[in-house]
């Protein structure tokens, strides 16, 4: 399992004593058809523990909703049309924010990546703004744009933009010198270099940047929605807090997790696998 998490934790360092990335971590001797069952066990354990906590240890409803409460709350939210509305609002925002971040971030990253000095110049600068999380600038955005959709969009765009620019820039830097020289000696101009060398060469790193961007963006989105409260899953679970609807909170949390996993593992991960394989791999 490559811990391809939104934090890029899977970005395992290259070390002589690690197994090559391609080979899966030492897989246990488990027959193929048992594997799905294998994955279900931990979830079952959690549900059993949850039920025991409620029934045997008598944890009160004020602290932990029962499994039934969560299911009922989800059913209600769907019947009322609230859940689909908030889900679409959140997904729309993350999609728009990421798209904007790509359109702005990739060209900028490519531009910065082409010269050695710009990496040294803008590296620390980008790191400074990476330390300023999208959430930290929310108060400022609220002062500027108030409790509106714009505040949420800017927060996501800012949060997703930084990793995309950073990864695009470093992706270009990782391309071996020879590739660009070859094109230049064949008379290739700047545009040709950009299209045939820098973009494809950095693509794998750009895709990782996009995954990181979505990971950070999704968190900033939920926090922004909680704060700004203009629809979306974040505001739904935070709103539910006001009148202690714990079933709704937990249902919302589970959905937030599942939606992110669908986007990250079923959409972004395959794109990354495809680009890493098709475009080959840069050597460190």
């Amino acid at each position: 399992m490559r811990a391809r998490t939104e934090a890029g934790a899977g970005r395992a360092p290259a070390a002589p004593w690690l197994r090559p990335r391609g080979s899966a971590a030492r897989s246990p001797r488990v027959p193929r058809r048992l594997v799905p069952l294998l994955f279900a066990v931990p979830f079952l354990v959690i549900i059993v523990a949850w039920v025991l906590a409620k029934s045997v240890f008598g944890v009160s409803d004020a602290a932990l909703p029962s499994v039934g409460d969560v299911i009922r709350a989800s059913g209600q939210l769907i019947n009322w049309g609230i859940l689909p509305y908030d889900v679409s609002a959140s997904l729309y925002r993350i999609a728009l924010g990421t798209a904007l971040a790509i359109v702005i971030g990739v060209p900028l990253g490519l531009l910065l990546g082409t010269s050695r000095y710009s990496v040294i110049m803008f590296g620390p600068f980008l790191r400074f703004f990476r330390a300023v999380s999208g959430i930290a600038i929310l108060p400022l955005l609220i002062v500027w744009f108030g409790f509106t959709e714009t505040t949420i969009q800017v927060a996501i765009l800012y949060t997703a933009l930084i990793p995309i620019i950073f990864n695009t820039m470093t992706g270009v830097r990782m391309i071996p010198r020879g590739y660009a020289d070859a094109i230049e000696t064949m008379g290739g101009g700047r545009a040709r270099l950009m299209r045939d060398v820098y973009l494809p060469g950095a693509l794998a790193s750009i895709v990782v940047g996009i995954r990181l961007g979505v990971g950070y963006g999704w968190r900033a989105l939920i926090a922004a929605e909680m704060l700004v409260g203009v629809g979306g899953l974040g505001s739904m679970i935070f709103g539910a807090l006001q009148f202690r609807a714990l079933g709704q909170i937990v249902a919302g949390m589970i959905l937030i997790g599942l939606l992110y996993l669908i986007v990250d593992r079923l959409i972004l991960a395959p794109v990354e696998d495809a680009t890493v394989r098709r475009w080959g791999v840069q050597r460190g």
């Binding site: 360092p13 590296g123 926090a223």
Partner: protein
């Protein structure tokens, strides 16, 4: 111009490069403010921010908020790292357990941190406990996954090598698995640090009355954008400081063993 002298000048030039964007930003901000003269509440001038920093430092408000935030971050991050590494190692020992826990760990990583805030407020109310919980939550699963991955991705030949010298299971764990997993653990620590710090600010904005996050959010109530900008700068500065410290630890330990950490590979 001797070669050495030219090399020195070049080194100075490289050192000064990173400062340029910051200076440029400051200049644009100052000049822009002079021209546009926006009302204070929207954008303070660098001067006003400077004065506010000074003022907040004098009345001790800045230090109080910083120490509140750092205390909570230290507690949450510390517990998160220790628990993450211990359980990560335990889970990493058996391939079956590691494989089995992958999906559930990924799920909890997807909702780690701020998503827990509402239910955490129900459990802990507002203030330090809820912030510490959010930080722990945003760090634990990340470190757990990375430690587990670190143990699992060790080349088996290292383990076989030591076992054929007659090493016991315990010896293999302490002398091979733990040091071998260290690069991944440090990798997890670095991204965990970033996430922990961001979760702290978010949790303080919504769930606390003191600390840097609370400071900048309350400043919004009084439209004190100078306090907000001050807070943002301090938050970023501390975030960078923590990251630099960890970078140092990584360079001193793991890189000595010939690991090219992605950080250094990036800037080479």
């Amino acid at each position: 111009m001797t070669a050495r002298n030219r090399r020195l000048r070049h080194a100075v030039f490289l050192r000064s490069l990173p400062v340029i964007p910051f200076v440029a930003l400051l200049a644009v901000w100052a000049v822009g403010w002079q021209i546009a003269r926006p009302p204070l509440i929207t954008l303070p001038s660098p001067l006003e921010v400077g004065r506010t920093v000074h003022q907040l430092w004098d009345n001790g408000q800045l230090q109080a908020n910083i120490s509140a935030s750092m205390y909570r971050w230290g507690l949450g991050f510390g517990i998160g790292v220790v628990s993450g590494v211990v359980f990560g190692l335990l889970a990493g020992l058996s391939a079956l357990v590691a494989r089995m826990l992958e999906p559930v760990v990924s799920f909890f990583m997807a909702i780690s941190g701020i998503v827990w805030l509402p239910i955490a407020i129900v459990w802990f109310g507002l203030g330090t406990p809820v912030v510490v919980f959010i930080i722990w939550n945003s760090v634990f699963f990340l470190i757990f996954a990375n430690t587990m991955l670190g143990v699992r991705s060790l080349a088996t030949v290292l383990e076989d090598g030591v076992r054929t010298l007659g090493a016991s299971r315990m010896h293999v764990i302490t002398r091979v698995l733990i040091p071998g997993a260290l690069p991944h653990i440090l990798e997890g620590l670095r991204s965990g640090l970033g996430f922990g710090w961001r979760a702290l600010i978010a949790a303080e904005i919504i769930g606390a009355t003191t600390g840097l996050g609370a400071m900048i959010y309350q400043a919004k109530e009084f439209l004190r954008s100078d306090v907000i900008v001050t807070g943002v700068i301090v938050i970023a500065a501390i975030g960078l400081l923590l990251d630099a410290v960890l970078g140092l630890v990584e360079r001193r330990t793991v890189e000595r063993w010939g690991l090219v950490s992605t950080e250094r590979a990036r800037t080479r």
